[in-house]
Symmetry: C2
């Protein structure tokens, strides 16, 4: 089996350690822990749609996204998760592509598989893993397209990258921004580049229902750009019917769940601070500030692999060993922020000194 460098699979881990998958508390996947209350009802209403092909043009789906984002549906390309949008993009952009590590491994994989040369940039821990605009400026001639994850996975900080957008526009280069986690950010409107879509055709934003709406299984993502030629190219390469009828149907409902959306935003605003404080108090941890629903932590003594194994064996708790992110080392873990009760449980386990014995 190909190892794609993603997090551990709950089922695989459970099988390996002979545990019941239902007993596992998964902090490795960074997904909204709250569910849309009427999800079952919404799904039932749309079951009959699975008896037919999804709309090959996804007209209603794009209208639903248009309404949610407040931008034109002609600018939207829907995908089987954000991943399909990345892979389509890599068939259409000019390389080399600059990728800022550590980040989601599929940017580089999708580029490589489509023969797009990758120019690596690195964030540095001594700089709190912040993007260095000056470095991008000084190396601007090394790439034609730049991929930024904002807020970045696995580092968690959001940044104002409007200056980078301006810089790239003035050099006629493409900026790809993965805003999959931006709805978790306090004051999202300040940081999202969505407001610049119309005026900056050198910008494409990628989003998904995966993280914020807590529905990775439905496979629904989308790209937004006013770059008509790029969109046309992507549609030329797009395989038909990649978004299933359940995702198509749910788009009629989830984006209108105002209460759920507001509740999630409010919850993370406070819970993030609380969890960060609790984690920072653990002496074996160096925690990095986050604006989203996960925390990057550097272990001061033992390795990520050791802590992950111990937590799983002793407490059925699964965390993300982040050492396979390019640019991180074997001491980095990533932890999702879940419900207060789940977070308290994790924190209480992490206060077990035995876990950190050398």
């Amino acid at each position: 089996m190909i190892n794609l460098g993603h997090g551990a699979n709950v089922d695989d881990m459970a099988a390996k350690y002979n545990k019941n998958p239902n007993d596992i508390l998964d902090f490795s996947a960074n997904i909204n822990p709250y569910k849309i209350e009427k999800l079952e009802e919404y799904i039932l209403e749309g079951i009959h749609k699975s008896y037919n092909y999804p709309d090959i043009h996804y007209t209603q789906l794009r209208k639903n996204i248009e309404e949610y984002l407040g931008c034109r549906s002609e600018w939207i390309i829907p995908g089987n998760g954000a991943t399909e949008i990345m892979y389509l993009l890599m068939k259409c952009i000019k390389g080399p592509l600059a990728v800022i590590n550590p980040t989601f491994s599929e940017y580089e994989r999708s580029a490589r598989l489509n023969h797009v040369e990758v120019v690596p940039f690195y964030l540095h821990k001594h700089n709190s893993f912040l993007i260095d605009g000056d470095e991008i400026r000084s190396r601007i001639n090394e790439f034609e397209s730049l991929f930024i994850c904002n807020p970045n996975n696995p580092t968690g900080k959001v940044q104002n990258i409007k200056e980078i957008l301006d810089l790239l526009q003035s050099h006629s280069k493409l900026l790809i921004v993965d805003e999959t986690f931006i709805e978790f950010v306090e004051d999202e409107g300040t940081f999202s580049l969505l407001q610049y879509i119309e005026d900056y055709p050198n910008l494409i934003i990628i989003k998904a229902a995966t993280k914020f709406f807590g529905l990775p299984g439905i496979r629904l993502g989308y790209g937004i750009t006013s770059h008509q030629e790029l969109l046309k190219q992507m549609f030329i390469y797009k395989e038909p019917w990649t978004i299933n009828s359940f995702a198509e149907n749910l788009s009629n409902y989830i984006f209108k769940e105002q209460e759920y959306i507001q509740m999630t935003k409010e919850f993370f605003k406070t819970e993030r601070k609380r969890v960060l404080n609790e984690l920072a108090a653990i002496e074996h941890f160096k925690t990095y500030a986050t604006d989203t629903n996960f925390v990057l932590i550097e272990l001061r003594s033992i390795t990520a692999d050791q802590l992950k194994k111990r937590l799983f064996e002793k407490y059925n708790v699964l965390i993300r060993d982040a050492s396979n992110f390019k640019g991180l080392d074997e001491h980095f873990i990533r932890i999702a922020i879940k419900t207060p009760m789940q977070n308290d449980l994790l924190i209480s386990k992490l206060n077990d000194e035995c876990l950190f014995e050398i």
Copy 2:
């Protein structure tokens, strides 16, 4: 919007003619008209799976297909419909690729988009659209891979192609067989090449839940081959999580629906003959024999476009204008075989002489 040359979309047609989509009787899509009775129950049981990513290795899904087919799960690659398997294949096979027209347009599209040269073969109406093994033999040096749809869409006949498999093996060439419709065929076991998978690594079969299980919306297809190097290549190119959690979950149930499977097979055995007889009695039609759940018809006077429009305007009945299949002309239509009541309704409408006025 890109026109991919597929059938009309019910919603698009309804909008164009200002009709309610729910009033349309769709004979254009060739999908099993019967539904799995407990589908809703199965879906409800798996809703919680959408809260997590699907298993990136699809271990259980592949086991379910293994059990259904009676072949090893290491030979199975699951896909977002049969379509994903085609597109993956085109990244991995040696060209040129021979495609036998008229057939499903995605074979050629997937090849073209992946820079695989296509060598067209044609079926001829004077030969009842049957594959000519002698022609393949005589042109064997023109291609490295051959794509056959069996039974073929839109012509409907199944053929015994074991000789072609032997021929291709002896020339070290790859045979790709789309058996998406083979479960509808009487005496499926005689015609399916599944029995040769182990001994013929130059064979890959593509199947799907779309047609026989009547679930195109769930997007579940798969490829089967014992060609380990080809499989490995396909997995290298495979995008992660392309099969959604609903499809993953339903694979636990649908393949075990023995009663549904047997009922469908029995139904089509008799209903196919009955519908064919009724259609053949219409003097404006030349019907072609079929072994599956659709019928290809050549109109003797008016064009497919004319009949399609008239049926839709007057009776809300949608048929497939088959003139955009390469190798067919403007007089061909394709009609799905549905439930007896639906078929009777269609036949009664088709006996309206006004439809065929020149």
